[in-house]
């Protein structure tokens, strides 16, 4: 099980770096919260409308934060040629992809929970939707987003190209994830557990698809330039 062990080690490394510095995580959380507040302000003060928009606003805020987080995680690996060392030292390159996707899933899940907490307070999401009910949506949408983001970051590479192309390539790719998360959590808010469960299955399938594609293709795109 070299692949799983190496992936866990690499995920642990990325998470330790983030937790030690805290700068990236703090900046990402601030960005996510700002996006939630600003889009909420732009939508207007109608609380019923804001409650209805809460799932969409939360997902969009998470998407913006994911872009920044991905940028930061990759930049750390590229400093002082660290990615070259990593590429040469890991036998199965898929472990690099899997490790990064796992670390990003954990970070995005934490961020997603914070954003939903904010949505409960700021957007008056009804108390009958518990944070525990939202948790599977947060975990699966984070996993789908992270697995797609890590792959796209590898495709666009570093430098000016990434600034321009990362959002262009990533956002349309995440449309199914966005739809499934918004519709599923909206169904949960309407106490429609059956529909919500259906969307959870869709989210799980999307996460599995992105992880599968990542494992199959990362070796072709992940090599340092």
């Amino acid at each position: 099980m070299t692949l799983a062990r190496d992936a866990l080690l690499l995920a642990h490394k990325d998470l330790r770096i983030e937790l030690r510095s805290r700068a990236g995580l703090a900046a990402t959380m601030t960005l996510g919260a700002s996006a939630l507040v600003i889009v909420g302000l732009a939508a207007g003060p109608d609380i019923a409308q804001l409650r209805n928009l809460a799932p969409a606003l939360t997902v969009i805020a998470l998407l913006f934060a994911a872009l920044v987080l991905a940028e930061r995680l990759d930049a750390i690996d590229r400093e002082h040629e660290a990615l070259v060392g990593l590429w040469l030292s890991v036998r199965d390159k898929r472990a690099i992809y899997l490790g990064k996707a796992m670390a990003m899933t954990v970070l995005l899940s934490a961020l997603g929970l914070v954003l939903w907490l904010l949505a409960f307070v700021l957007l008056d999401v009804r108390a009958d939707v518990s944070l525990l009910g939202i948790l599977p949506f947060v975990l699966l949408s984070s996993s789908a987003t992270a697995s797609a983001t890590v792959l796209v970051v590898a495709i666009v590479g570093a430098g000016e190209r990434r600034v321009l192309l990362l959002p262009v390539l990533l956002m349309p790719m995440l449309v199914p994830t966005l739809l499934a998360t918004v519709n599923g959590s909206r169904a949960l808010m309407a106490s429609d557990a059956v529909t919500a469960a259906g969307w959870l299955v869709v989210l799980a399938a999307e996460a599995a698809l992105f992880i599968g594609l990542g494992l199959l293709t990362y070796e072709f795109v992940g090599a340092p330039e």
Partner: protein, 224 residues
């Protein structure tokens, strides 16, 4: 341009113009929709060609990753550009039809939305290619995106069956057979054939152009 190339281009253009003209001016109008239905003779072939083009991109990308032969990369790149062109034609013609029939240029219908997403994905593919100078790297990264991007194509096609929306369900390739009047179907299929021949002609020209660019860059020492 060589004389042979000019002749083949003229023949393809004439065939395309004849079939489109037959759809727009010769066949009778649809009993319910009237003349606006004639947009179907452009819209449907363009949509099918978009699918075909992106499928060719997918195959070319896969073949490049397996064989590392630049001819497959040129095939994928040329087909993606044409797919983008046909997707654009599909969206524009559909939008004109939508304004006349539904009263709006755009609706957030699943088919329309997924088609727009497909357009943006392949626009990203073309942008990615344009942003990478190193030839082998460009081919490798674009190939992976050409494979991932194809995930969207079945979603676009089946969106009318999976979700309810304004866009009509398939009328030609459907269980129980086609529901179109035979004369309209014949002209529609002739248009599909003409669009396909035009696609193949353009694909070959675009690949030849890319090959000549590669050859020039190799001669000047730019190709690495």
């Amino acid at each position: 341009m060589s004389r042979k190339l000019g002749r083949s281009g003229l023949a393809v253009s004439l065939f395309l113009a004849a079939t489109v003209a037959a759809g727009l001016f010769v066949v009778p109008a649809d009993r319910l929709q009237g003349d606006v239905q004639r947009i179907m003779y452009v819209h449907v072939p363009a949509a099918w060609l978009a699918y075909l083009a992106f499928f060719v991109t997918f195959l070319g990308s896969l073949a490049y990753l397996l064989r590392r032969d630049l001819r497959f990369d040129r095939l994928a790149a040329a087909s993606a550009e044409l797919g983008l062109l046909f997707t654009g034609a599909t969206i524009v013609s559909g939008s004109i039809w939508g304004k006349a029939t539904w009263g709006i240029w755009w609706d957030w219908d699943p088919r329309l939305t997924t088609t727009a997403v497909m357009f943006v994905v392949y626009a990203g593919y073309v942008l990615l290619r344009g942003s990478i100078v190193e030839r082998a790297r460009r081919a490798r990264l674009a190939a992976v995106l050409g494979i991932i991007g194809f995930v969207n194509v079945p979603i676009v096609h089946f969106s009318v069956l999976w979700w309810r929306g304004l866009h009509q369900a398939p009328t030609v390739l459907r269980p129980g057979g086609s529901t179109i009047a035979p004369v309209l179907l014949v002209v529609l299929l002739a248009n599909v054939a003409a669009f396909t021949i035009a696609f193949v002609w353009l694909l070959r020209r675009r690949m030849a152009l890319e090959a000549s660019r590669d050859a020039t860059q190799e001669r000047l020492g730019y190709l690495s």
